[in-house]
Structure formats: structure tokens, C-alpha cells
Symmetry: C2
Subunit: 325 residues, 2 copies
């Protein structure tokens, strides 16, 4: 109900909406309408109320709810269905649940706070209230399995572009999909999938971005940053989310139509790993060498000191000469 009222105000685009037309449209009493508007005020929305004219929405808080994100969103498929949660254990977990229930391609799950945010390889992800973008995007690509890593790289490009377009911050991608500013982590991307060996059932791209974090817990302070720390003022989450969805949709279409080549070029243009000496920590030991590029599959190529070229599918990367990021 509250969402419906909000939608009507959004559709009115700053004009007055009478209490009578609201109660008619929603088939409830004017007292009920008034109660919901009071609730919206408590969430940070401001309204002007004028006798005989009704209510006018003056300003909205930076809460990435379904209505807020969909208002003005230019993407057609991504975000057509949005599930917003004030607090949740993990948007990835919820995305798996919805995917199994048949949620369509492009479904988006957003939370203001995660109690059990997930990073790569089951690691925890610090996701406090109101400060970040904690979002999962459900895709149903008709692609063979080996192409999945390419979609992770594609998502990283979409996010880096969105950051630059909305804040001017020039973030870089550390292979495969960490997003860094000044060697500190701003955003992580976790791609999970459920598949048969010859058919992807669904794929979930999880994005965790530190937006308005002013200070990090001591164990993260040296390795994490936020957009607010970078630009010095609060950054609005909603336009950033919209831009991510729009870019992701655009790049995904490009990818489906033309394959990985155009994405590869974009990824390389934003990557900070290529051309550097790196140390790769893998499940069974580590490896040092020169990161010379990615191949057409999206696999990292590293030239070892003996000249051999190693294909790297999974690793934690450090620059050989600098501390861990």
C-alpha cells in the first residue's frame, strides 16, 4: 500500500495529489492514506500538504526501494522486478531462493543492510545499514558454462563505468572482479550459478559497494575505501544503482550480439592487473609472474619466469611489489 501511494506521487512528478483521489485509487479511507503518508515522512520523505489541493512530494530519502530505483530507470529488462529489503541475511541467498521459484531474467534484489553478506569463496562481507549498495541481479543466459567467467568481467566493467559516470571517481578492476581505488577495495562482485553441464539454469551477480561508509572496522581500514571517502561528500545510492543496471543491460546485449571481444577491450581499459608482476595465491600453493592479458575466454594469462604462459582460472592476486589489497 505504502509503495502504491509512493508510486502515485512519483507519477505525479511533483504535482499535488488530492486525498480524495488517493483514497479512490487505493480503495481505502482518507485516514488510512494519512497514516501511510506519516510513515513515509518517518522514512525521510517530505510532503507539502495544502488544504483543497492535497499533498505534494517535495523530496525523497536515498533509500533504494523498488519504487525509487524504478522511477526514471532506463533499463528495460534488468530491474523490471525489484525486491527491496530493509534488512536481510544476504541478497545472494534471497536471489537463489527467488531463482528456484522461477523469478525472471533481470530480477534485482536490494537490501539496505545485510546480516550475513557473502564475498567470494564463502568469505563474509561487511554490509552495514544505509551505507552501501548490497544488490544481487538474476540473469538467465543461454550460454555454455565456460562463458560464465566472461559475465563476471562484464559486470565489473558495468560497475566501473557507473562509478565514473555518477561520481567522476576513476576506479580500477583487479582481476577478476574487485574494484579498487588507490589500491583499496571499493566494491566486490560475486557471481554464482546453478547449471546442468550443458545449460545454465541461472546466474546471480552480487555487487557489494561501499558508498557512504565514513569509517571501517580496524581490520578493514587499510584495505577498504568508500565513495564518500574518495569524493569527500555523501553519494546518492539510487542513481548509482540505476546506472549499474542500465550499463549492465547495455553491455549484456552487446555481449550476446557480438561475443566477448568488445567486453574484453573495455575490461582491459579499466584493469590495473595487466602488465604488472603479480603473485597468485591458489588453493595449492602460489605462483609469480607477469600478467600479460586475458584471453578470449576471459582467463588470465601469466608469463612465468621460465617463459611458460600459465592460464589462471582462480586465484587471489597481489602485485608482486606492493602489499595485499
Amino acid at each position: 500500500m505504502k509503495e502504491k501511494i509512493l508510486q502515485i506521487f512519483k507519477d505525479a512528478n511533483g504535482d499535488f495529489v488530492s486525498g480524495e483521489s488517493l483514497s479512490k485509487a487505493l480503495n481505502c479511507s482518507r485516514t488510512a492514506i494519512w497514516k501511510h503518508i506519516e510513515e513515509l515522512r518517518e522514512e525521510g520523505y517530505t510532503f507539502e500538504a495544502v488544504r483543497r489541493s492535497g499533498y505534494r512530494l517535495i523530496s525523497s530519502p536515498d533509500i533504494p526501494s523498488q519504487v525509487e530505483v524504478q522511477t526514471g530507470l532506463q533499463a528495460k529488462e534488468l530491474g523490471r522486478e525489484i525486491h527491496y529489503f530493509g534488512a536481510i541475511d544476504s541478497t545472494q541467498h534471497k536471489a537463489h531462493e527467488l531463482a528456484k521459484g522461477g523469478a525472471p531474467h533481470g530480477t534485482v534484489i536490494i537490501a539496505d543492510q545485510q546480516a550475513g553478506g557473502k564475498g567470494r569463496m564463502g568469505r563474509p562481507w561487511h554490509s552495514p545499514a544505509g551505507t552501501g549498495i548490497w544488490m544481487s541481479i538474476l540473469l538467465r543466459p543461454e550460454l555454455p558454462l565456460y562463458r560464465c567467467p566472461q559475465l563476471t568481467l562484464l559486470a565489473a566493467v558495468a560497475v566501473v563505468q557507473a562509478i565514473r559516470e555518477t561520481t567522476g571517481v576513476r576506479a580500477e578492476i583487479k582481476w577478476p572482479n574487485d574494484i579498487l581505488v588507490e589500491q583499496k577495495k571499493l566494491c566486490g562482485i560475486l557471481t554464482e550459478l546453478n547449471a546442468e553441464t550443458d545449460q545454465i539454469n541461472y546466474l546471480i551477480i552480487g555487487i557489494g559497494m561501499n558508498v557512504n561508509t565514513e569509517d571501517f572496522p580496524s581490520e578493514l581500514r587499510d584495505i577498504a575505501t568508500s565513495l564518500r571517502i574518495q569524493v569527500g561528500t555523501p553519494v546518492k545510492r539510487i542513481p548509482l544503482i540505476q546506472r549499474i543496471l542500465e550499463n549492465l543491460e547495455k553491455l549484456y546485449k552487446l555481449y550476446i550480439e557480438y561475443g566477448f571481444s568488445p567486453i574484453k577491450s573495455l575490461w582491459e581499459a579499466h584493469a590495473n592487473t595487466i602488465g604488472k608482476r603479480v603473485v597468485l595465491r591458489q588453493l595449492h600453493g602460489s605462483l609469480e609472474g607477469l600478467a600479460i592479458g586475458i584471453n578470449e575466454e576471459g582467463t588470465l594469462l601469466v608469463r612465468k619466469d621460465n617463459g611458460e604462459i600459465e592460464k589462471v582460472y582462480s586465484a587471489d592476486i597481489e602485485n608482486a611489489s606492493s602489499p595485499s589489497t
Copy 2:
């Protein structure tokens, strides 16, 4: 409790076990023991009861329960944990559930009957009581995603070998993993996985084999067969299950140590697709050509009439000159 009693009789290896030692070992009354033995008799177990000596297990029914499958099983990792169900919706479904709960590599789920057996691409799988092997095997390989299809091919080899070793029936593999006799389907293999783009969380190999089916529903009669139909007498499921697990463990070790090459040779030796003209039905249209082999990734290679070689990741295959199997 019944399983524990059965285990004691299996361990006794045909010798007498006294009622007293049973009630001591299991810490319950001799009346309770007697009741459980009666239950086992109802399931098809036969016992000899001799005053003063106790009970002796004479014969066991062909029920692939945990105790039965583990007795004499030569595999070390596969089948160390077995979950048996008289009836279940789907062993694949249960396997996903157990995998998420942390079940170890090698966990096996077996059912006597499935109400909602699953085939490839969400298709149903006919799984009546007592007649087949409806089994799912949980693996936790540390491999990149692109290698998953190879594991499906590996499973097909393990199954074909087990069929030949226990019954003499020479079954063939239709790419990627249907097992046929005289162009009729004897067994299907469904591999599902849950992964991050750079790490497989778990993989489930589902095996559905028609063993003692005497007759099929009319819509399957022309395209399905069973081992019983092939050999003319009932076939025991338990030794067949054991052989599948043993072969799969052996081939998996070979694969982890030496890679896909030795598996590829074995698969090709059992395949009926290679060297034939095939029609491939895919999501978006179909393709005809000569199946010339599989490559080092396990992908099917088809030479089209214009000479181009197409890599095939997913399709339903028919021989160009014969009806669909």
C-alpha cells in the same frame, strides 16, 4: 536400529548371532530385537533361527539400502556416506539439499522409487519402485567451470563399464551422456552444479537406469529398454551400484591425476555418436553434419556440409538416418 541389526548380521558373514549378544550390543530387549527381525523378514530378508545359537542371515533382497550397498563396496570415498529412501521426490533434489548442508565429497543418495525423477533440462524421468537405479552422487571437485562437461562424460564411462562387467551387456554412449542398447535408452545421466565463476561449490551426478523394468508406458516403449529386457532374467541392482561407484572413483582419480586424455579415449571407445551423420536440435534451430569427435575440453565437434567445424556444447542428437532415440 534395524540398520544396526542388519549391519551386525552382515559383519557376522553368515554365522549365527545370539539374541543375547544383539540385545547387549544395541542395548534393548530381546523382544525388540525379535520385532526388528520380523520387519526385516517382511522386507524380504530370510533368517534361520536355532534355539541356543540365535539367528543367521540366509539371504537378502535386492534393496539398495545403505547397509547393503556398503557391504563389500570397494570404493573408499564414494559411498562412505549413503542416504537411502524407499520413496522420494527426487534424489537430485535431496542431493542439493544435503550439499548445501555441507555433506562431504562422495555422498550418495539412492531411492527405490522417485515421484518426481528429473531428466536433463527439467524433463521428467519415469522412476517406478523396485525396478531401477535412481541415484545421485555428490562430488566436490577443485576444478575450473569449463571442465564440468568432462565429468559428465567420465560418469558415462563408469556406468557403461559397470553394466558390461556385471551383466555382459554392451551398452553405448550417445553424446553427451545417454546410455543406449540397440538405440534404446537404458540410462540417463544428469549432471548439475552449483558454483562461483572461479570455483565449483559442488557437482551432483544423477544416474537413472532401467534395470528390472519388464514393460514401459506406451509413450516410452519404442525408445526405452531395461537390463532385464536385454538379458531376459532379473538383474541385481546392488552389485551394479557398487560397480558404478567403484569405477567412478577409479576414473575420477585417474582424471584428477592425468587430466581428461585417458577419459577421452575411454569415452570414444564406448561412444556411438562419433563418425556418424547427426542432426543436432538446439534451443535456436537445428544443425546437421558429421560428428567427428570430441576435443580436449569434452566438446563435440561436428563438420558441417560447408566444411566448417562447429563446437557443440548443448544439443539433442539424432542419427541423421534413424529415428530419434
